[in-house]
Every structure is written in structure tokens, then in C-alpha cells.
Subunit: 251 residues, 2 copies
């Protein structure tokens, strides 16, 4: 698969939103020219080849895992690093030095939240099936619902409350890439924990409003309505297992 | 506590290495002028005040959690973001654009490994004591030892094998901040899982050599021998619970 100059090549698992979705949302919001490589014919083989270490010496290191982005001679892995690279190119970076560091910082806090959301159904190991860690998943989900969702939601609600302007964004007066990621977290947690998250988000009206505002941005709305937006599923990060949604677990 | 111009102010829990240690190692290696604020008189109060949201509008956002760095008018949280900010100032950044992105990417992969090391003793929730999640910790540690340590070690070993030069570093021909962090992971895992990690690292001689080389860098050696280096303990990320070190768990 030749590297098309100027075009962003996103490499990620072709059948799930997963961590790749945070990149897709940024590319789609900016209407960037990109290829979702592994969803094209021969793309999975190209991705596996890059992961097998087929990069020449002196270039970017072989990624640890998808997602990764190929752009010109660069190959960049890790969701938050890819977003930091793309942000100035896509116009999704806040103005000013403090704003740029704030964006990176918020993105990593969101990444921590994403990792914890994943671990609700995989508290013991990524190499085991959900059914092999179901009782631990119940306990971890109860903790996540009782302690962690309120903590993360409360933090971002507090940041948004202090935001200037009528339309509130995480940094300054316009939408930047962590806002898109916060939308995805809200969407994912609504899917995974419909009852518990609906209760929790009532106390974070600014977060809820931000997520709704992101969903209505014209390019995002078009993307969400397109076949390019994959559905949430029980193969992704945000999984809906009804038994994890009630916030109770046996000790 | 006044903000001393030019001096880096690190805010982190005063009695543990924790995530703050990755910042301390970079500051120490560069012999930077810094204050470990919470370890000074009145410092904990200063840290709590900043965490309570006492930052003026229009500046950096209130951090989600320590560690965070204050430098001039900036306040930056999240370990990997702090390191990306410090790297060019401390001379710990690789040369060239590809190298800089590689450093950020490696740092985040190392951060993932750190988070998984933490979760071996807290697989259910950070708000619970170890004793409340001991059986889950045994299962998670067994998975970590069997699957995750070899995966992460193998990845960095492979990166180092391809490194140019006789002395191997993660990026290019000189030491950059992810090398210091990889040293800390090796030290921490030796402390937490002395038997299992000693076995695993035999298969990653380049990682082992890199960690030894970092420990001998003059400023790091002086730091490790000083009272500024806190000991590992069962309050930190890397905890030694002998029952977690044997790599076996009941299903």
C-alpha cells in the first residue's frame, strides 16, 4: 500500500470504534483527507506488516499497538500523541502556549478515564475473555460507577463551569480536540452504563451540553450519520453488559 | 508560597516516589533548579490550595491530580505532558521531529505499563485497600507476570536492538527522557516482583543494560545516593507483596 502524500493514513482495527475513534473524530471534524487503512482491501495486511517492525532504521519506531498514524515519513502511535500531532494541522488546537499544554493534559486525563472504562469489563487481563473475569468485573464496575465516574465528570464539569463565553469549551472560546474526545466518552458511557451514567450526568449539565453541541457540529453530525461511524459493540472499549450497570457488587 | 521565577516547582505527594519520580529523575539528571514543593514546610497546603481550584481564569486549568509542575505562569499536570514540556528545556529531548514524536509515544507506552503495574495491587478500585482486593490482585498479578511484563519488555528490547551505536538508547544516539523512565520501571518492577522480574529481564539484556547505564549517569547516581530519593514502599505504585510475585493464581 503506497503512502499517499499529504493524506493521513490511520491504522486501527477495522470493526470497532475503540481508541481509533478519538482520531477519527478529529479527522472528520476537520474534514481532513484521510484513509482508514485497515478498512480498505489489503489494509489489515499493511497494518500487520508495520506492526511486525518493517520500518527502516532512522525513521519512526515501530508502534506498540494500534492506533497509529502515517503521514509522510512519520509514523506516530499512542492516541494522545497522534492528536497532539494532528491538532495544529486540523485547526483543533487552542490558542497560546498555556492552552496547548492544557489540551495535552486534558487529553491524558480523558485517556485515563477511557482506560478505566475498559477495565470495568477486563479487570484481570486483556488476554482473558469477559466471562473469565465476570465477578471481578462486577466489583470493578460498581467502584467505577460509585467513585470514578463522579470524580471524572465532576472534574470536567468544574473546568467547563469556569470556561469563558456562553458556549462552554474545555479550553478558551472554541472547540479543541479534547472536546471531541469528551463527547466520545459521554457517548460511550451512555452505551455501556445506560442507567448509571444517565443518573451521573444529571449532575454535570455542562458536560452533557458540550457533548450535545459536539454531536451537532455539521461535520460530526454528518460523520455520525454515515456508515463510517461504526456501532458500539461488545468488542470495543465501551461494552454494554446489563449486569454491570446496576452499580452493586457482592463483596 | 511565592512562585520563584525560573525555578521549577514540582507538586507531588511528599512521601512516595509514585508518578512524581519520573519528573524528579528528569530534573535531577539535568541538575535543574527545582523545588519539590510538598516536601518543604507549608508545601502540602500550597499543593492542596492549587488542587482546590485556586487558579485565576485564563491561566492553566486546575490539575486533576498530582504530579503537576508550576513554571512561571504555567501549571501543567499529567506526567507525560510535564516531561514533554521539560524535555527541550532540560536537554533530554531527541533531535529531529521524528525523534520528538517518538519520545512522546514511548513515554505514553511506558505510562500504560506503569498504570498496569499499579493495578496489580489495585485491580478493583483505588479507593479500596489492598486487603479488600487481595484475591483479585493475585489473579491480575499472575496475568501481568505471564503476559504483560514479557510484552512490554519484549517491545522495548526490540526497539533497543535496532538502536544505532554501541550504547543503546530508545531514540537515536543519546539519552532522552523515556530512557530515564524505563530505568524507573525496571527498578520498580525489580522491587515489586523480585523473582518474576529477574526471570523476565534475562530475556531483555538491552533493557537491563540501559537501566544500569542510567543508574550510573553521574547526576542520577548522586541523586539515588541522596536523601532526595525516597525508598520504594507499599504506599507507592510499585509494591512488594510476596504473595503476588509467584505468578500463580487460582481460577
Amino acid at each position: 500500500m503506497p503512502n499517499r502524500r499529504g493524506t493521513y493514513e490511520l491504522y486501527y482495527w477495522p470493526s470497532i470504534q475503540g481508541r481509533g475513534e478519538f482520531i477519527r473524530l478529529a479527522l472528520e471534524d476537520a474534514r481532513a483527507r484521510y484513509v482508514d487503512v485497515a478498512r480498505e482491501p489489503g489494509g489489515m495486511r499493511a497494518m500487520q506488516k508495520l506492526l511486525a517492525g518493517d520500518l527502516g532504521a532512522g525513521t519512526s519506531p515501530t508502534p506498540f499497538a494500534p492506533p497509529f498514524l502515517r503521514h509522510g515519513r512519520l509514523v506516530i502511535a499512542q492516541t494522545s500523541t497522534i492528536l497532539a500531532y494532528l491538532a495544529p494541522r486540523l485547526g483543533l488546537e487552542p490558542k497560546g502556549e498555556a492552552g496547548r499544554w492544557a489540551a495535552q493534559q486534558h487529553q491524558l486525563t480523558l485517556a485515563d478515564w477511557v482506560a478505566e472504562a475498559h477495565d470495568t469489563h477486563h479487570p484481570i487481563g486483556v488476554g482473558l475473555y469477559y466471562d473469565e473475569q465476570r465477578s471481578e468485573a462486577k466489583r470493578r464496575s460498581a467502584e467505577f460507577i460509585a467513585e470514578r465516574i463522579p470524580k471524572f465528570l465532576g472534574y470536567f464539569e468544574r473546568i467547563l463551569k469556569r470556561s469563558p463565553g456562553r458556549q462552554k469549551w474545555l479550553i478558551g472560546r472554541s472547540c479543541s480536540y479534547p472536546d471531541l474526545s469528551l463527547f466520545q466518552l459521554v457517548a460511550g458511557l451512555h452505551y455501556a452504563f445506560p442507567q448509571a451514567f444517565a443518573r451521573a450526568v444529571r449532575k454535570a449539565p455542562n458536560v452533557r451540553d458540550l457533548a450535545e453541541r459536539v454531536a451537532k457540529r455539521p461535520n460530526i453530525a454528518a460523520y455520525l450519520a454515515s456508515p463510517r461511524r461504526l456501532p458500539f459493540s461488545e468488542d470495543g472499549i465501551f461494552r454494554h453488559y446489563p449486569e454491570l450497570d446496576n452499580g452493586r457488587a457482592k463483596r
